[in-house]
Symmetry: C2
Subunit: 372 residues, 2 copies
């Protein structure tokens, strides 16, 4: 079977590590032939995944195709789908998710709880929603890794708002941010992973690390699972989806956003779950049975990101110390150059003791730095 991946970043890299457990001929398209996934596939094609012709030519002789980023040419995927190429997830699902306005409307249409919102076309529209503040202004398309979001606390922040179509979302009083990964195969069978919880630094407001399974009250988990399943059912497509949710102070659960692909919040499943998210997507595409989503052992993820004020050839300070920790797994994405905030790798910690997970996660955050 010939399977292609649009995008050659770290998600593609980890997908290809998992692909080597099966017999499948792999294809990757990405603009950069030094990208993290380029050397791990049978066929690397340098090309623009946003270009209709490039995507169509790449896909037309494949049996199946997946994405590792939403910013792809959907028209080409639609044509390929019509011609019989299996697309995971369907272009119709990517289309809904890719644009934050259609994504929010989709939740609304299916009575899926999500933060209250309005749509703005240009910056001065924000003037009409002064009573709606504090709110998050989110670019409809093109936001990525924290870019494309502005917090509008009050009228004086309006000049930070976007002048192109965007969603203005009421700030929710968040108790916890969680993520749930859901897998769906062509027979519409579903499997759901244990929830993961994001632990934020209260001062810097940065994602510090992630714990899984999340520490949630039973009712919160039930709500979260039911909402995640409802999101994915209504997207009406096979594939793998990561649903990010908020649990608020009243124990209500709201969808934040959905990614129609393998996701940063699922890295720990490589070591900590019977079937990793990467393995799961191959099972779906190769028409194998869904895998077991259960955790073998609790885990934490620490993201390794480029340190502020460093740009150039990546140097990993503290790596030796981290590699010496006995229950820790290091994943570097093989990116030559670092810059502030760039995702350079991650570390997974496994332990039955949440205190150990938290202790090690904090320690790793402090000692491991990507400089240049």
């Amino acid at each position: 079977m010939k399977v292609g991946i649009l995008g050659g970043g770290q998600l593609g890299r980890m997908l290809l590590q998992a692909a080597a457990n099966y017999t499948v001929e792999t294809f990757v398209m990405e603009n950069d032939d030094n990208c993290p996934a380029a050397h791990l596939c049978h066929h690397f094609i340098k090309g623009d995944i946003n270009n209709f012709d490039a995507v169509y030519q790449f896909g037309k002789n494949l049996d199946a195709l997946t994405i590792e980023i939403e910013a792809v040419n959907i028209a080409a995927l639609e044509k390929l789908e019509q011609e019989g190429v299996k697309i995971y997830p369907k272009p119709s699902a990517i289309k809904i998710i890719k644009n934050k306005i259609s994504q929010k409307k989709f939740y609304q249409q299916h009575q899926i709880p999500t933060a209250e919102f309005v749509i703005t076309q240009q910056q001065h529209d924000l003037q009409n929603y002064i009573n709606f503040f504090p709110a998050a202004h989110k670019l409809a398309e093109g936001g990525y890794d924290g870019k494309g979001v502005q917090i509008i606390q009050a009228e004086t922040d309006i000049n930070k708002g976007f002048d192109t179509p965007a969603v203005l979302e009421k700030i929710v009083s968040i108790k916890k941010e969680i993520a749930l990964i859901v897998a769906v195969n062509d027979k519409k069978e579903m499997a759901i992973y244990p929830a993961a919880e994001m632990v934020f630094d209260p001062i810097l407001n940065l994602l510090d690390y992630q714990l899984s399974p999340a520490r949630l009250e039973e009712k919160e988990l039930w709500k979260a699972e039911s909402i995640a399943l409802s999101v994915v059912k209504n997207l009406n497509s096979a594939g793998l989806f990561a649903v990010e949710l908020f649990v608020d102070e009243n124990k209500e659960v709201l969808v934040n956003e959905t990614a129609p692909r393998v996701h940063n919040s699922g890295h720990h499943t490589i070591e900590a779950n019977y079937c990793s998210q990467y393995d799961m997507l191959w099972r779906i595409m190769l028409n194998y049975p869904l895998g077991n989503t259960k955790a073998i052992i609790p885990s934490a993820i620490v993201n390794i990101v480029g340190a502020e004020n460093y740009q150039g050839n990546a140097q990993y300070e503290g790596l030796e110390n981290v590699l010496q920790m006995e229950n820790v797994f290091v994943h570097l994405y093989g990116k030559q150059t670092t810059k502030a905030g760039r995702k350079m790798g991650h570390v997974t910690i496994i332990s039955n003791d949440y205190n150990d997970l938290t202790y090690k996660a904090n320690k790793i955050k402090h000692i491991l730095k990507v400089m240049a």
Copy 2:
């Protein structure tokens, strides 16, 4: 760092899956450009790993080099070593092990317990050792995967013996066959994995499956560990080594043979140990700290080999059923064609319950078949 692997089979494939957790530029040389590892490296070079020029040209611009099979050109490795390329393991260690006669002499010289043996140059030499039978006649060089061994029960079997240099080894009354993997880094620090035990089918005399950690009496384990460490210390080389041992009816432990590389008996370490044997070899070559060899959870390995009487395009019967088992990990090596006995993949089972491991291993042996 530029690191090369001589050989592109399944061991190379799994090494490269592990390499993608680090930033390393990988090179593979093998005669077959459809071999299991060919598409998972940065640079694949088609060439004969037994040819001096091919190996020398391949290695001369690399920082380090390893092997996934002993049948390589050692003279080229010696020249590369003199020129400053780091070879894991050292050519001197490969040389000792590659030839069964020098390997047995090495054990003898270092007072390492091993089955009694004599050396034969041609078949009719066996006539001199009639009182030594029953014995195993083992080809000095070129034996692989059970080939190159003949059991000489009595004088009437002498015509099965080899007519080239070979070792004639007294048959030991084996209670258990075990394997221990030992890692050594450039600082001569060592790490030893928990023992694995081979479980044989008493009727077919085939390796049925492997369990780890092995069920051994404490004293047997102590002896085995001390012998394995002694073997590796005396080989006087950094690298990863698999030491196969017999435990006899008198609880004595004898070395059977040593492999100077990642090994079939260590496949389970991918899922069942903190640091896999593949990860460990990268840590050694990249000059990182040794990893934690401890088992996270007990495990079994079932080898998937080509069924008798089938040759051609591989078809996996029963794969769906195995993929449905909840604590089971499938690894297919991506070989297009099968033949009787060819190693096509393996399955790892993890469980805290040895009965579950045994039950599932037997089940998998019965339902999973590689046909053509």
